[in-house]
Amino acid sequence: MSPRPNTHSEIETLQAALAGVHAALWGYGVLGPRLSGEEEERGRRAYVRYRELRDHLVALLSERSVEPVAAAAGYTLPFPVSDAASARRLAAHLEAGCAGVFADLVAGATSAKLRGFAASTLRECALRHLAWGGALSAFPGLPRPPARTATTPTPDAPAR
């Protein structure tokens, strides 16, 4: 694989992925105490995984002599999280968002190794989204189906 240059720069999408992971870590910190039993453990595992991802993304950016984006001072919850049901909903929301930033990183990657990492992490997010009760999606991480916008002629995909 020899990825071609693209509109989403590798650095830009790495930073966006890191920003998403920061938010996910914060979110799992909020929702974790609302869970119990097996779900609490699943939330803990996800939190640990996101810490690993944060450290990996920080290392990737540092290798590229780029200052990694810091976590925000605070985040606004998309809805109140007061019980296990809303905690599960927030977890699914976080995973859907992170699927999006890692899908973008697939496009931004300029090496096969980084592309593979991004794709496998996207898949992880989609599977956790499902485990938290999120709906199945034909295109996890995409805000809308791509087929409707596929008619623009480009050098890569000539109009037919």
Partner: protein, 174 residues
Amino acid sequence: MTVLGLSGLAGPGLAGCTTSSPDATPATKRPAAPVTTPPPPPPDPDLPVLSAAVESERHLLSLYTAALERLPDLRDDLEEFVRRHEEHLAALTALVGPEVDATAAGLATTAPSTTPPSRSETLAALVAAEKAAVTDRDKDLRAVQGADHARLLAVIGACEATHVVALDELVEKL
């Protein structure tokens, strides 16, 4: 405060926005020359990979169709899987055109689908096919060049991975 909206980077739709490479300037923008018909653009190097993915989706759909014929009582459970694969097929076909076939893509022709007789075997065959599709999308990702093509294939692979889990859950439920 940062809103905890983690949607991916705003950008144009996937399929039609792959960035041009420096050497892919459309022929129509070249200086006028005494040639009335411009040369055709070079073929998309991703066409074989995308065409193989089209065939993979068609194969999956044929398996689901056969399963639904054999197990009509599972229609409500399986129709959504079919719909998602149809969406994959539509997105991929928009890139390669509708006339691609396995032979044109340099692939072995897909064997006719055979549906195992029992309910559990039928569902197990679907699980196996979805797993194989996930593996195929991984291979596609290693071969494809276009950034947006890669993202589409990765997203489809992620969906197929969730299908494996969801079908396993369906098997347990039955």
